[in-house]
């Protein structure tokens, strides 16, 4: 299903943080939203996920407005992995993943064959089937993040939203999780939209970049086309060189030290 955002505006109180944003994400692709802190990218994702009510504009999935439908029905089309999700104390991996099936269940439909199949498939696809009986709070950060992805996958939604899925991970796990996300989009034809802090990672794993500043989209398109030193300067206010990765030619961002900037003073 296509995810389309049209003329979206959102505010906290009287302060508008998202202004007139349009975007479109296609099935089978990964779209990364990037931008400096406070640019409105997380709020945009929250509006799409139905966590924050926009002041204007529309969010549609497969042609229907998510704000016009029952929350439970939207939850069958759209899943979100929050930035730092919290799990109940002592829950096991199997228990966590099973909860992803909630939107498909009811009082007399507590664990159908489809629930069973979807949960098993999600565990296998994310490589955590062996951990099913383990406690989530005893796993490493990388393993835990794969378990959360399994829960989102078990929800079996055409659209998957991720809020900084790799912010707490080391380089190895970052690569592992981002590769998995791209695989999910490609193989399962999911529409994946993620907010990412790391511009280099976004450039490497996303099919499309959406660059935001001050609540507006300043550039969008394939990373190799839109990622320039000028864009980095506009987004973050730093000079940067864009190199080409030796392997696949994807853009690599190398920031230049600020001219005249002093190194951190002692005692500070």
């Amino acid at each position: 299903m296509r995810l389309v955002v049209e003329g979206l505006r959102a505010a906290y109180g009287h302060r508008e943080v998202v202004s007139e944003v349009d975007l479109c994400a296609e099935p089978g692709s990964v779209t990364a939203i990037v931008g400096p802190n406070g640019c409105g990218k997380s709020t945009l994702l929250r509006c799409v996920a139905r966590l924050h009510r926009p002041t204007a504009g529309r969010v549609t999935v497969g042609g229907t407005d998510v704000w016009q439908r029952a929350p439970r029905h939207v939850a069958r089309d759209l899943a979100l992995l929050p930035q730092s999700p919290s799990a109940p104390e002592a829950i096991t991996v199997a228990g966590l993943v099973a909860h992803g099936r909630h939107p498909h269940q009811g009082l007399f439909r507590q664990w159908s064959r489809e629930d069973e199949a979807a949960a098993r498939d999600a565990l296998a696809a994310t490589g955590v089937a062996d951990l099913a009986g383990r406690r989530v709070d005893r796993l490493s950060g990388g393993q835990r993040q794969r378990c959360w992805l399994a829960m989102i996958l078990a929800q079996d939604t055409p659209v998957v939203l991720l809020d900084e899925p790799t912010s707490a991970l080391d380089l190895g796990h970052q690569v592992e999780v981002l590769s998995l996300i791209r695989k999910i989009a490609r193989k399962r034809n999911r529409t994946v939209v993620m907010v990412v802090h790391d511009l280099a990672a976004a450039a490497r794993y996303a099919d499309r970049l959406i660059a935001m500043r001050d609540g507006r989209v300043t550039a969008e398109g394939p990373p190799a086309e839109i990622l320039t030193g000028e864009l980095v300067k506009r987004l973050y206010g730093v000079e940067a060189d864009i190199l080409s990765a030796p392997g696949d030619g994807s853009p690599v961002v190398v920031a230049r030290p600020e001219e005249g900037a002093t190194t951190s003073s002692p005692g500070n």
Partner: protein, 342 residues
Amino acid sequence: MKPPDSLALRFGSRSVLLPKRATAVALSIVVLLLLATAASVAVGNGRTVGWRAVEALLGGENAFARRTVFDYRLPRVVAGAVAGAALGLAGCLTQTLARNRLATPDLVGVNDGATVGVLITVLGSTTASIGAWWAGPLGAVIAAAAVVAVAGGLGTAGYRVLVVGLALSVTIDAVTDLVLARQPVDVARGVWGWTIGNLNARGYEVATPVLLGLAVLVPPALLASRKLNVLRFGDDTAATLGVVPGRWRLYALAVAVGLAGLAVGIGGPIAFVAMAAPILATRLAGTARVPIVTAALSGALLVVCADTLGRAFGPVEVPVGVLASLLGGPFLLWVLLSRKDS
């Protein structure tokens, strides 16, 4: 792959999950509750004690013993069990809502509101008997509504509601004392016994309506338990799983307030049961899901046992509320000081 420790029962397109450990624990508590009932009717004054009373309970022929057991002792046990179940269930709901094991209905002013409600009806009547069980839930609802209104809504973490509840319940508590202080000594003494939690002379006349109230409120509580399981993941995750947090929180709080109010209407504000029963239930049934049923059964067992103990030693009866507080203090320390590591 199945949710851990559970049995999926399927009938065509319908399916029900039966948690294995929780079911075994619930059945065991039912057995214990029956044993406690037998022990409770066996304790008392006069000749109908011990085996003679149990024999009458099980269908013995002695007419006098039967009257003592079925007309005086069993009604009190049933009243206690019903109050305990309501408290345990209410406590389970509030603890899950606040994500805090110390969050009980009394903290949002429910007990004090219910107490004042019953007190006012007692003092307004000429008979000065504590029959107005319905004033309990009414007072509880008014107090809880006042607390939520002053706090300006439930909020997300519930801390605001708890702090406002603490402040208001101290005020309402003072109203109780003020009202009592202005009564003649004999009236005040009779009513005071009830304000500390007492099952003395409570029977079917209060247990039956409250049991009906419980029958109305338990299905919504069970319905809410599936949503509460999801709410444990935090508001954002719950919302994206289709559970609107504010709506279900208010719903569960309303059910909890109603239950706690009913319980106070029976036995007065019996302390600690609402806190202890859900904690006990979690330890026994595991943390995989919100232990709604086990918490209710544990509450019933705790109150019946406390009431039996209070009558077992010496000629003077110790009110169940006093005994619950006496046992509850060490229990609270145990909860706070013991770290659970498996």
